[in-house]
């Protein structure tokens, strides 16, 4: 469970997060959406302890301030792949494996993406999509209880994107808590359970996707969100 209590964060007077109160229950699949600069990345970074926020943020009922052990429970996939370009895929995997105490690995997606076949290749020689596959494989590698994925399907082809989505469904069914951000709502609206809508750092809406569709009388999430924002304004 991830609990946000009065979470605020400002940069140069600009409020990136404004009094966020939110509880992400265990075993839920949450889709985080919002326009550009709405605070999505700051919200994710606050969970990972990469930005200091005001308020109380707890993961599995433990306040995360000044601790780092809780990150053993989190698998994070950043938007862009950022390892040193001169390293090989195998070296990257070896490096990240050494950074965790967890020694049980979930390498299913590694094989499904056929990353095992490109282990000796240097990152500098890989395409953007392949780098993104390695990125995703690292997030799942430690079989974490919480998965945080920032635009996971960006740069992936249709087949890989489906493999990733199937994996996410499987992990959710196993009881993992999932938080995904995406600009392509159609990709996750059928598999996500909850939607978190941020706008200008504020929590605009949080609830079940089907409730939002019913409220707005729409069948597509994209239209429902647009209607909801109009209704709110």
């Amino acid at each position: 469970m991830i609990k946000f209590e009065n979470i605020s964060k400002s940069f140069s007077g600009l409020k990136a997060l404004d009094d966020i109160n939110l509880i992400l229950k265990p075993k839920t699949f949450n889709l985080l959406v919002g326009p550009n600069a709405s605070g999505k990345s700051t919200l994710i970074k606050s969970i990972l302890g990469l930005v200091n926020v005001n308020g109380n943020l707890s993961v599995e009922n433990k306040n995360i301030r000044n601790t780092f052990e809780y990150r053993n429970k989190i698998g994070y996939m950043p938007q862009s792949f950022s390892f040193p370009a001169n390293l090989t895929v195998n070296e990257i995997l070896e490096l990240v494996k050494s950074l965790r105490s967890n020694k049980i690995y979930d390498e299913e997606i590694l094989y499904k993406f056929q990353i095992d076949k490109i282990g000796s290749k240097k990152l500098i020689n890989l395409s953007g999509g392949t780098k993104q596959k390695v990125n995703a494989a690292i997030a799942f590698l430690f079989d974490p209880e919480i998965l945080i994925l920032d635009e996971p399907t960006a740069g992936l082809d249709m087949i890989s994107s489906n493999i990733l989505k199937e994996k996410l469904i499987g992990e959710n069914q196993k009881g993992k808590t999932i938080l995904v951000t995406s600009h392509v709502f159609s990709e996750f609206e059928s598999i996500a359970e909850n939607i978190i809508l941020l706008s200008e750092g504020k929590l605009n809406h949080f609830g079940l996707i089907k409730d939002l569709l019913n409220l707005t009388n729409e069948t597509k999430l994209e239209k429902a969100l647009a209607k909801w924002i109009k209704m709110k304004n």
Partner: protein
């Protein structure tokens, strides 16, 4: 996290940073520069002690400049990687020390091999006696790398913490510009004084 685990992490990050940096074109260029300087110096003077004095002048000027410049490039290019590593359950000092050693070791290797190889090529028979003449130069070079890279890291991390604390910086671009000004100042003052 016990001490062994911390050391293991530190070793791994340092090892892979070193591996990545050592094949960087900047470090290769750094090696070529010292190799050429050492080779030319030895071939013109034909006397190891004179060559060592000539090289000391180059070392005193080039090492601080390269440490500051490459240190900044390295830090700036790896910012996303550092942020990603920070999202792992690793203590901040472990990351700091590994990044520092991951930069220090390749630069020191580039410098050392660049200086020593020509000595070996010129007179392999008297290498040991020549090595003793070069020893003060090597110690000075390594010491300069050590303190200047540390100094560079300290300034970058302190600037980051100050700017973030007072929330002056929204993005790292402001920090980059600020630091560039500082580098220009350092280069200007090293030329003047």
């Amino acid at each position: 996290m016990d001490q062994n685990e911390k050391l293991k992490m530190l070793f791994k990050i340092s090892l892979f940073q070193t591996k990545s940096n050592i094949s960087s074109k900047w470090i290769v260029f750094y090696f070529i520069f010292f190799f050429a300087a050492s080779y030319v110096s030895l071939s013109f003077t034909h006397e190891t002690s004179k060559a060592a004095v000539n090289l000391m002048n180059a070392v005193l000027f080039i090492v601080p400049l390269a440490s500051l410049l490459y240190g900044t490039i390295y830090f700036y290019n790896n910012i996303d990687y550092i942020i990603f590593i920070l999202s792992f359950p690793v203590k901040r000092p472990v990351i700091y020390i590994s990044l520092f050693s991951g930069l220090l070791i390749p630069m020191a290797i580039g410098f050392l091999t660049g200086i020593i190889l020509p000595v070996l090529l010129f007179n392999a028979n008297s290498f040991l006696s020549d090595f003793y003449i070069f020893l003060p130069l090597i110690i000075t070079g390594i010491y300069l790398h050590l303190i200047l890279i540390l100094y560079n890291f300290q300034i970058i991390f302190q600037l980051l913490s100050i700017l973030l604390k007072f929330q002056i910086v929204k993005s790292l671009h402001l920090l980059k510009n600020f630091y560039n000004l500082f580098l220009i100042f350092v280069m200007f003052s090293s030329q003047v004084f």
